[in-house]
Amino acid sequence: MGQPVSLDVNGRAVSVRSDDPEVPLLYVLRNDLDLHGPRFGCGLGQCGACTVHVDGVAVRSCTTPLSSLRPDQKIVTLEGLGSADRPHPVQAAFIAEQAAQCGYCINGMIMQSAALLARSPNPDDAAIKRELAGNLCRCGTHSRILRAVKRAAASL
């Protein structure tokens, strides 16, 4: 079952094993750690559904091999951001704006925009759209997502 690998996920030290050190982080999070916030959309880095934070930066977990991660890097998933009872301001804003249809893309939208707001608290519309240009939504929830990100920015 391979050597144990230590990770810091949502503030907890965890140990995982895999036969293949090249396994993408997405599968480790979803299947070994039961974290279902990050979602499989393409496995190609094209859609953003799988986005997580690594040291505060939004990365595509579907193209991030386990072997590329160090134990001191802080991995945060949608679950680590907040819960329904204690939502992160971005999550709270998505609820307030009812910014989801199927919601499949929403993990990526929230993780990407939370990372944006962390480094740039007051982005204008164009900056938000640029930031989210690589996050696809098929349901057409874009306008609501945009409003939610602006609401979150205002609340931070």
Binding site: D34, L136, T141
Partner: protein, 736 residues
């Protein structure tokens, strides 16, 4: 928190079916036992009859009301809206109602979840069942209290202080749904018509919602399908030595041309599938893509459907002062769900349970029974939400894949499609070709209209399952593209009209319905060609439509859309055509299927003269879908529908070579991204005393034509071929 999921202990207690106990699974539903594989046998089984109150409603010992809905939430928010409708009739707060959807063991067969019918039909049935229950409960309370029912009211799950559950004891309603049971007066609505927050959103934005992709069943292993490189290839041999040597591989499964691998882990299955060395026969049965329209035109016509015949077109057309002729076409589209299809199947004691995001679990159950040879009673299909599907995508096919694999390995199997599986193998919206002729009199009025639609035959039946086809197991052979003749006829009063659909015996790729099937393509041609006639007549295109509209509700949506868009009346194209960026506006109108929802809209476009790029910065839309159950929910659908359709119109086209689909990812099948998304300006006309009509699909019908009309207004170039690519735009601009 999302709705309770029926736990293994969801037993029907005592002698009746009314008491259904639920347990809220902890969020790690992953680790919890899955839904029960078979229905309990103690007591009477839960009714699934579509004409019985007990089919739709149960009142638990704790007073909670559970709604059993055959219609499912495809990410549209309909679960919330159906709860609102049921709670309203029973004067309950939202929190007192739970909903179970799309479980063939528990919910009535209300037909597939498509066609914008969940509220209009599905909701109406549930509402009527709740109204019947309400009357029955009032009668029981009146008997108990010895007072007339007329003086009693429902309040917080009780009547005259007696809880519903006590009124019914452990009895079932044992009542047919009464079509005449009085419905609550809309003026007393507390929930319907209100923007109640969606019950699924908090879970979805915090990673606590259980999608089909998240389901784990004890003992579950992972399957991966290996599709042929061309649609008709035969599997000649497989070298599986390298794959079988990989860690965790359970089995290589081969049935005819169906090939898959099962492994302990999902990643293990992916890697092992890559290590398989299949040998496939050559096949090149698809037409050349750049000759697609010749191919469509040459395809054998199985039958003609005449969808309207008024007056005498043959006589009137030659008399016309002016005649226009045009051909429109609309490319093959894919559903493009962001999450590829996924399903889990398990065989236990000879019975099959299959979890999927199928929009039609009851029909899927029959298909899986046919494929496996099991009696239908031994198959249970259970719905869990997936990624938005917008029609019949690959969910049902993944369910069939999982079923074959679970049978082959004797363990529960989860199948997750890859992106290429989804883009390559989900069924497609078929290509549509339309010829039109219109005649004007000297004053510019339309004296004759004729159109011919070249579209595949078939309706909205079952789309054959890929696994069954590949494995040579029983499956349907008829095409099922959806009811695509709709809106081939016009929503206007004209003196001489003939519209006919030539139903083609075949179409290049397995067809199915994608949001607004047929209605979108047909309305594209109708409303753009009408604009051509308006331009030929030198009349403002909105005025032109208004003259032809003899329907007051239709006229109202159009009037309001024009006002909202600040439409200035003048003929198209606009006079000044200078500058690098040309701007224009286009109008369009539809009455969905000519009998329900009205939509009118105005597209605003910018055309970059140098690159041919078209932008839609703003889209104005007004919809009248009768009674609105949840205004914010409808706005969410309406806005999404417009944005999705702008994407389809500007960008989307499935590409293929002689053997298979070649647009297998988001680079080769791009969709609209954030920087290109239009602002959607909306107005809903709520008519609380009318019936609710479909809300999720109709607006898409007007989008392609509104954009074509706006591009014509901006440039004088008429785009008649979706998608409106830069190349087509540049070609048109060069010709002006």
């Amino acid at each position: 928190m999302s709705d309770p999921i029926l736990s293994r202990r969801a037993i029907l207690q005592g002698g009746g079916a009314l008491v259904v106990s639920f347990s809220l699974l902890p969020r790690a539903a992953a680790a919890a036992p899955p839904l029960p594989p078979a229905l309990p046998t103690r007591g009477l089984p839960k009714s699934v009859a579509g004409d019985e109150v007990d089919g739709f409603l149960a009142i638990g010992a704790d007073g909670r009301v559970t709604v059993f809905s055959g219609k499912v939430d495809l990410g549209t928010g309909v679960k919330t809206a159906l709860k609102q409708m049921a709670a309203e009739e029973l004067d309950l707060p939202m929190g007192a109602v739970s909903i179970v959807q799309g479980d063939t063991g528990l919910t009535p067969d209300q037909g597939p979840t498509y066609g914008s019918l969940s509220i209009q039909n599905g909701g109406a049935q549930i509402r009527q069942a709740a109204a019947t229950a309400r009357a029955a409960l009032l009668g029981l309370a009146a008997d108990r209290l010895g007072v007339p029912a007329a003086g009693l009211a429902l309040k917080d799950g009780a009547i005259g202080g007696i809880p519903f559950a006590d009124l019914l004891k452990d009895k079932r309603f044992a009542l047919k749904v009464d079509a005449d049971a009085p419905l609550k007066d809309p003026s007393r609505y507390a929930l319907v018509g209100k923007s109640v927050a969606r019950i699924d959103i908090p879970g979805k934005v915090t990673g606590r919602f259980t999608y089909i992709h998240d389901l784990k069943v004890p003992g579950m292993v992972h399957g991966r399908v290996v599709r042929p490189p061309t649609i008709g290839a035969r599997l000649e041999a497989v070298d599986d030595a390298a794959a079988l040597a990989m860690p965790g591989v359970v089995k290589v499964v081969r049935e005819g041309n169906f090939l898959a691998i099962v492994a302990q882990t999902e990643w293990g299955a992916i890697k092992a599938a890559e290590a398989l060395r299949p040998r496939w026969s050559a096949w090149a049965g698809l037409p050349e893509q750049d000759k697609l329209w010749q191919h469509v035109r040459a395809t054998r016509v199985a039958k003609d459907d005449v969808t309207s015949a008024v007056g005498d077109v043959a006589a009137a057309l030659p008399q016309a002062a002016k005649m226009l002729v045009a051909t429109y076409d609309f490319a093959i589209h894919t559903h493009g769900s962001i999450g590829p299809s996924c399903a889990v199947a398990e065989f236990k004691d000879g019975r099959l349970t299959c979890w999927s995001a199928s929009q039609m679990t009851h029909a899927l159950r029959r298909q899986l029974a046919a494929m496996t040879g099991l009696p239908t009673e031994d198959v249970r299909c259970i719905y869990l939400e997936g990624s938005g599907c917008y029609g019949r995508n690959g969910h049902e096919d993944a369910a069939a894949d999982a079923t074959l694999l679970a049978r082959a390995v004797g363990r529960p199997v989860r199948v997750q499609w890859s992106r290429a599986d989804e883009h390559g193998w989900d069924p497609k919206g078929p290509p549509t070709l339309i010829d039109l002729k219109g005649g004007l009199d000297a004053a510019g009025a339309i004296v004759a209209w004729t159109s011919e639609f070249f579209i595949p035959e078939g309706g909205a039946g079952n789309v054959p399952l890929v696994a069954a086809e590949l494995a040579g197991l029983p499956h349907e052979t008829a095409l099922a593209p959806g009811n695509i003749v709709h809106n081939s006829a016009l929503p206007y009063a004209l003196p001489n009209v003939r519209t006919v659909c030539h139903r083609l015996a075949e179409t290049p790729l397995r067809p199915s319905w994608i949001r607004t099937p047929g209605r979108m393509q047909n309305t594209f041609a109708n409303e753009a060609f009408l604009d051509e006639l308006a331009a030929a007549a030198g009349v403002d295109p909105a005025d032109y439509r208004m003259r032809l509209l003899n329907d007051p509700r239709g006229a109202e949506v159009l009037t309001r859309a024009l006002a909202l868009a600040k439409w200035e009346s003048r003929p198209s194209p606009r006079a000044e055509t200078g500058g690098d960026v040309l701007r224009g506006r286009g109008v369009s109108y539809v009455r969905y299927e000519l009998y329900r929802t009205y939509v009118a809209g105005v597209a605003e476009v910018e055309v970059d003269r140098a690159t041919g790029a078209i932008r839609v910065p703003r889209f104005v839309v007004v919809q009248d879908c009768g009674q609105v159950i949840n205004p914010d929910g409808v706005r969410n659908q309406l806005e999404g529908n417009v944005i999705q359709t702008v994407s389809r119109v500007l960008k989307e086209e499935v590409t293929f070579d002689r053997g298979a689909v070649t647009s297998l990812d988001w680079a080769s099948y791009p969709i609209l991204a954030f920087p290109e998304v239009p602002e959607v300006v909306m107005e809903l006309i709520d008519r609380p005393t009318e019936k609710p009509w479909g809300a999720g699909e109709p607006a898409a019908a007007i989008v392609p034509s509104a954009i074509s009309n706006a591009v014509f207004d901006a440039t004088g170039v008429r785009l008649r071929s979706v998608p409106f690519t830069k190349a087509k735009m540049l070609e048109g601009l060069r010709g002006v």
